[in-house]
Amino acid sequence: MDRAVNVAAPGQAFKVPPAVFALLRTAERSIPVLILLAAWEAVTRAGMVQLFLLPPLSQVLVRFYADTIDGTIPHHIIETSVTALSGYFLAAAAGVIIGAAMAISRPIRYMVEPLVSLAFPIPKISFMPIFILWFGLDTLPKVLMVAFNCVIPITSATYLGARSIDKYILWSARSLGTQPGRLFWKIVMPAAAPQVISGLQIALPQALIIGIVTEMLTGGDGLGSYMIRAVRFSDSETAFAGILAMLVTGLVYMQIATVIRRRVLRWHAEAAAG
């Protein structure tokens, strides 16, 4: 608001309106991308690569458009999202509860901390055949595999956030009259919120990565199987349309996560910094 006033202020000659400035920056930033895409189209049109390996961008877009209009791609995006988000929310609930329990209780911390720290680096996807053995080939093993992957970062972020709270904040709350039993929910968890949300933000792309892999492995519907089927039939246009669909899905997920973060953490310094 202040800026708009400034723009109109007299005697300041070289002022560029912020909107124009932002537009110019966006234009500048899209140049390399446009060059890359143009090069893709040109190289494929000129026949410099096998079309099977890299179909022209225009054909990929045509396929993407056709499969979007007839509902194929939206259907697969929804299918993938159901798997990924079910697992994700399961992991979020479990992770926050386990992380909070670890912060409150010493015995729980003692038992769980080594397991979480060991589970972080292992490629959890290697358990997929076991999950299939136990839960069949339907949606359930996929959801559980996503949850298995996402629960680790959420748990440790919650735990670390709740543990690293500044003791002076706790002392202030105590001296302002908060009862000890209520400190955890009134003070510790809100103070840990930025870290919890960071954990949730880290886990979200993982949910998508793992959800898509499980679809590639078990078949059925979803973006993963859509793309792997295309590759198996050497239909590279559809494969690239699949990549495009995944990219769009990933972008939307990240945007939503960023917006939610800003909303929840309005009080935090980073939100003020904009």
């Binding site: 793992i210 492995l217 494969a239």
Partner: protein, 251 residues
């Protein structure tokens, strides 16, 4: 001595979980046909070592993972530092990185199968590209955040500008680069096993799915255990190396 004791202490819960697993199997609480006992898994592990070339498969998997990861680390760090120190590199690379970063990395596996077939190259390619973007972005973000006073100090002490990227920016950004690399390391194993599940004739992922198809569940569990141990060992070695490189950070 104290350190060793606390190390052992740390693993007690793991041992406890394993004991519980074995006890439940012995007591018949879990179905041996789909959840073999720990003891039969260990027997299966020895069998894999002698009959199924476990070490060969592990060697191939580790080779693929290391090649992809090291390539991604080397090129990613160089690109990130370059972007942070050169306006032209930033102009050319940053928009492309920002646009492609949200792509779920697993999409790269079928792409590289399409491009490079079913052998080592497709796995290495998918791991390389999948791990590359996070490395570039974390290096760039930390290198960009390097205190300008450090750069100025180096200038005023006689360092030529073109030497600043590796004499000042790289070491100053190292703590965040190391933690970014650790995440990429874990991702590289996920991509490796996924790619080997999908299409391969060698490697631990292939071994797991083959054993599963043959109904050799103790063997399959043992192979999963092997992957787990390798993942943890890689992470712990990386941490040890990172702590050596970052000796200067604290204490």
């Amino acid at each position: 001595m104290v350190r060793l004791a606390s190390r052992l202490h740390f693993y007690i819960p793991v041992l406890l979980a394993f004991t519980l697993w074995e006890a439940a199997s012995q007591a018949g609480l879990i179905d041996e046909s789909v959840f073999p006992s720990l003891s039969s898994v260990l027997v299966g592990f020895v069998r894999l070592l002698t009959n199924n070339n476990l070490l060969m498969h592990a060697g191939i998997s580790i080779f693929r993972q290391m090649s992809g990861f090291l390539l991604a680390a080397g090129i990613g760090i160089a690109a990130g530092i370059l972007m942070a120190t050169s306006g032209w590199a930033r102009f050319a690379i940053e928009p492309i990185i920002r646009l492609t970063y949200p792509l779920p990395k697993s999409a790269l596996i079928p792409l590289f199968i399409l491009w490079l077939g079913i052998g080592d190259a497709s796995k290495i390619g998918a791991i390389f590209l999948g791990a590359l973007l996070p490395v570039v972005l974390s290096t760039y973000n930390s290198a960009r955040g390097v205190n300008v006073a450090l750069v100025w100090s180096a200038w005023s002490l006689g360092t030529p500008r073109w030497q600043v990227p590796w004499k000042v920016v790289l070491p100053a950004a190292m703590p965040e680069i190391v933690s970014g690399l650790r995440i990429s390391l874990a991702l590289s194993f996920t991509l490796l096993v996924s790619a080997e599940f999908l299409i391969s004739q060698e490697g631990l992922g292939y071994l797991i799915s083959q054993l599963g198809e043959n109904g050799d569940y103790p063997g399959m569990f043992a192979a999963v255990l092997a992957v787990t141990v390798i993942g943890v060992a890689a992470d712990r070695s990386f941490l040890a190396l990172g702590n050596r490189v970052l000796r200067w950070t604290e204490q």
